[in-house]
Amino acid sequence: MKDLTDLTTQCIRCGFCLESCPTFVVTGKETESPRGRIYLSRSAEEGKIAWEEARPHLNACLGCRACETACPSGVHYGEILELARDRLEKRHGSFAKKALLAGMTKPGRLRMQLGLAKLLPGKRIPGVLSRLLSGQAPEADRPVAPSAYSFPPLDEAPLPPIKGEVYVLEGCVMRVLYGRVNEITKRLLRQVGFAVRVVDQGCCGALHAHNGYLDAARSMGQGLSAQFSDDLPIVVNSAGCGSTMKEYENLGVALRGRVFDAAEFLAANGLGEVLSTRGKLEATVTYHDACHLSHGQGIRREPRELLAAIPGVTMVELNEAEMCCGSAGIYNLTQPKMARTLLERKWGNVEQTGASIVATGNPGCHAWISQAAREHGQTVEVLHTLEVLERALSGSS
């Protein structure tokens, strides 16, 4: 693992990252900017300020990594943040955060909570939990339990022969809230000649890594890589998971070169052509860049190209498409106010496009922007990118 001082000294304080950082743009505070957070982390690491002083500013960071995209010096902000949060958690951890993560990353438990949640009054997450996590009133709704889904069997006639196998990461949140997206991933892979090998799989550890539980993340990563034991490609439809898995080597886990975002993999294997010949969807579509896809994995082009390939689809660019929506893992639970400000900003931009669908590639963004949609009268439909593609091919709703 790299040294926090070395990582932070790569920042020469030019300030180019400031205007791309959502928390700086909203607050105007140096302490809520990438440059400030890097400086504070370095200062704490070198004993110039106490780690506790840096804590609120590191907690307020979305981990969206827009600053990495902006930084000409190639500062590895994501790594800095994870290491700094690891320091903080080791000093004085947050019990509530740990419990929440445990709940979210064990599909069984998440499912049970969802069940219980339906029995509780009100739709917000319980105020007690929110105050434990953030000291503020909650903003995030309890996740809406998924509606049942079923797809028509694939029309075998135009399908290419199977040319290989892949794994699909089922994900914790994805599996429970958006099981349909996993199903769709398999269908789309089949469209380009891939079969999915099914294995028992655990959590990838992304939420743990992002929140400073590096040891836990490491052991989850090791577990997962043992489950994906041979060298088949691993297709991931959740940007946050994909981004962590592509960087597993920072945790000493070897999967590098095998992990692909679903849009990335499908585009590279000719789904664009399939869509342009057999797809159809009359819709105006805009695309929100999930931070862990654009900033985390550098994937911006592929999802847009796949969507644009659908006959009948008109693409419109979203203003501030690459600015975080505020969901950011569990951020909307730990920092509800900032998350809400960013959500409203995002929704304003979405509505301004006049699109009928906004597509995105991450379950966190999906759920959070869906909440805005519900609150604002469902004027725009929120879908995973893959759901739009599937709808164009099978007409499923």
Binding site: T9, Q10, C11, I12, R13, C14, G15, F16, L18, E19, G28, K29, E30, T31, G36, Y39, L40, S43, E46, K48, I49, A50, E53, A54, P56, H57, C71, P72, S73, G74, V75
Partner: protein, 482 residues
């Protein structure tokens, strides 16, 4: 008796609101320097006013309590201008970021001081206009900071520095009074106080709003990158181009010290054996023959470069490629972190004809002080930016870099130049002022400053040397580095 931190915070919170007043160790650390990291000094508190009236109220409180105050925009300054040299209050403009009025007919716009420069241009792009001053830091540096430093940029060569584009300012003077200087219409009667405020490095008060000129975007533009195997060939080309009577919109040199980082950061391509790249842009918005003019100018430029042994000249094929070249140039200094932990970007001016000798001198200084240097600079203006890179954890290196800078500046003066082109004096070069100005000159400047200032509270210890209490305090912040 200086007022204690808690009292300061609670009293300022009563004037503003509590969430507009920041303090504590993290805040004091984060605001202890700008992009010039050699000198550092902590404020006691930072305020984030959201109106001119709030700024005025804070300044009046500071005056009543004898607390020093320093304005701050994005903190991209390169001479320690936003460093609170005597502590006190930092007044941030980052909650004053609105565009207030756009007057297309008269091609001008009024904005608040904390807006990032580029957002002004973006807001009128579809109208074919822009705010011409384009410091390389323009995506983040603020209008107020640009005004304070009279910022230049690559296109200054043709379009002039910030001063030429500011029509009027709203200034909270150092007593807390709100002044409207100049206005939408330029050239009114009376003294031109606007010009005095532009470039005063925040020592004459806090600018909260400004009327700026909007300039038509060129209708034709061509950008070329010429590669040379020696820096001398590149700088000689610059001198000849200007002497030929052709004034390109921009003439920028990048030397081998930075090329590797630019390649890593932006994928900039250049031939093997390149020692310097010359970025040339020609533009025009002539109603009838913009394209012909640009074509002709570029031919002249290319011929001169070739005569000066250019190894390769490539013209950007389209707007996307042109933007890529400019991103590499403008964000170039920002890529230096790939080479070393810290940088100091020096800033001096010399007559263009002296560029080749001066560059040799810069390399020699770097070699003698054992430091690394990269140059990327506004060659067309003779505005040099030797960027020294070092490790700020080593006090010996910090000292060497400061000394190297002073040697370079002295040489600029010997060659008939200036101690700063656009980054300002700040705290960095305050001791060098007497090299350029006589005692009388300095006294005159101090008198001009006293028109606005009765005391010494407004951005103290900047620009003019030997200010009260600064000499002794300087020991605290000079070269604190890490």
């Amino acid at each position: 008796m200086p007022i204690p931190e808690d009292a300061m915070v609670s009293q300022l919170s009563a004037i503003l609101s509590p969430d507009q007043v920041l303090s504590g160790p993290s805040v004091q650390r984060a605001y202890d320097c700008d992009a010039y990291t050699v000198d550092r000094s902590k404020p006691t508190a930072v305020v984030m006013p959201d109106s001119t009236e709030q700024v005025a109220a804070v300044v009046r409180w500071c005056v009543a309590n004898e607390v020093p105050f320093t304005g701050r925009g994005a903190g991209t300054g390169l001479s320690g201008g936003a460093l609170p040299a005597l502590g006190g209050v930092v007044i941030s403009t980052k909650r004053l970021t609105q565009i207030l009025e756009i007057d297309l007919e008269n091609r001008c716009l009024k904005a608040q001081a904390g807006i990032a420069n580029k957002r002004i241009s973006d807001s009128v792009k579809t109208e074919g206009l822009h705010f011409a001053p384009d410091p390389s830091s323009q995506t983040v540096s603020t209008l107020g900071g640009n005004i304070a430093e009279n910022a230049g940029g690559p296109h200054t060569l043709k379009y002039g520095v910030t001063a030429q584009h500011i029509l009027g300012v709203t200034l909270v003077d150092p007593t807390g009074e709100i002044l409207e200087l100049g206005g939408k219409v330029s050239g009114g009667p009376g003294f031109d106080f606007v010009s005095l405020v532009v470039g005063s490095e925040g020592t004459l008060g806090i600018v909260t709003e400004a009327w700026v000129k909007l300039t038509p975007l060129p209708t034709a533009v061509k950008t070329a990158l010429a590669a040379f195997s020696t820096v001398r060939d590149a700088t000689e080309s610059v001198a000849v181009i200007i002497a030929s009577g052709t004034i390109p919109a921009a003439l920028e040199v990048m030397d081998k010290g930075i090329l590797h980082a630019l390649e890593a950061a932006f994928g900039l391509k250049y031939p093997v054996g390149t020692a310097a790249l010359l970025l040339v842009e020609c533009d025009s918005n002539d109603a009838d023959s913009a394209h012909e003019i640009v074509e002709r100018e570029m031919e002249t430029v290319e011929a001169i470069c070739r005569a000066n042994r250019a190894m390769e000249i490539s013209v950007a094929a389209d707007e996307a490629e042109r933007q890529r070249l400019w991103t590499a140039r403008k964000k170039g200094v920002g890529a230096m972190g790939r080479i070393a932990p810290s940088i100091v970007t020096h800033d001096g001016v010399i007559p263009r004809s002296k560029l080749p000798d001066m560059l040799d001198f810069v390399y020699d200084v770097a070699a003698r002080h054992g430091g690394g240097v990269a140059n990327l600079f506004h060659a067309g203006d003779g505005n040099l930016h030797p960027c020294f890179y070092f490790d700020d954890r080593d006090p010996v290196q910090v000292k060497a870099v400061v000394e190297a800078g002073e040697e370079i500046i002295r040489r600029c003066l010997e060659l008939g130049g200036s101690i700063t082109g656009e980054h300002g004096i700040g705290v960095e070069k305050i001791d060098l002022m007497p090299l350029m100005f006589s005692e009388d000159d300095l006294r005159l400047q101090a008198m001009a400053k006293s028109i606005f200032n009765s005391g010494e509270l407004c951005n103290p210890c900047k620009v003019l040397p030997n200010q009260k209490s600064c000499v002794e305090h300087k020991k605290r912040w000079r070269g604190v580095a890490w």
